[in-house]
Symmetry: C2
Subunit: 126 residues, 2 copies
């Protein structure tokens, strides 16, 4: 049984539950909320971007971490990578319809954080 078939079996038998250590939903959560995952999804929500554009918009990300994050989100089916057969080579990234749905939930969270930041800082113990 491949890992994918194993995951499918769990989904078919059990109700997905991020609180369960072995539930595949937890991996998806980790990818979408990884250090750079959320930020990549937010930028791609604004439209298709090239790698260099993503790097420029996401303050502090390294090429290596951005490449790894994009690969993970592509493997999960949230990001579509398109490569154009031109000289010089042209590659760009966009959200799939599923990625768009996920990005909306992430944007609701980050929007709330940005909007609530004065209250959060006012209340925090730091």
């Amino acid at each position: 049984m491949t890992p994918s078939e194993h995951a499918q079996m769990i989904v078919d038998r059990l109700k997905p539950d991020v609180l369960a250590a072995e539930c595949p939903s937890r991996l998806v959560l980790q990818h979408l909320t990884s250090r750079w995952g959320t930020l990549v999804m937010l930028v791609l929500m604004l439209g298709t971007h090239r790698f260099s554009e993503l790097k420029r918009r996401i303050g502090g990300v390294s090429e290596r971490m951005l490449a790894q994050t994009l690969q993970q989100l592509e493997a999960d089916g949230f990001v579509r990578r398109r490569s154009y057969d031109v000289v010089p080579p042209h590659v760009d990234y966009s959200l799939t319809p599923l990625g768009q749905e996920a990005a909306e939930r992430l944007a609701a969270l980050t929007g709330w954080i940005e909007q609530s930041l004065p209250r959060i800082i006012g209340q925090s113990a730091a």
Copy 2:
């Protein structure tokens, strides 16, 4: 200037933006979406819990990581720790009103992931 005053200065002058490397909103995002942070917030959304109850409900978390996560969320003002002066000592954790608001956004994300898992697994490349 303390770190907190520095953060306040940034918030006062600039519009919070998680895409900016130095924006304090990004730290808040990291705490709320840390490996265990999201799951702690989800469980506390259901009500007040003791440490041992949290550990039992969150599959796979270690005592050390749970304690560290709770401290971080408490410092941000999302979690309230209450210690009762009884024998044996009794400590419990609950969400602050601000934490409740954050938890609702996190629950919208994890709810979507759980509900969409069959589609995600069907579409993923893994």
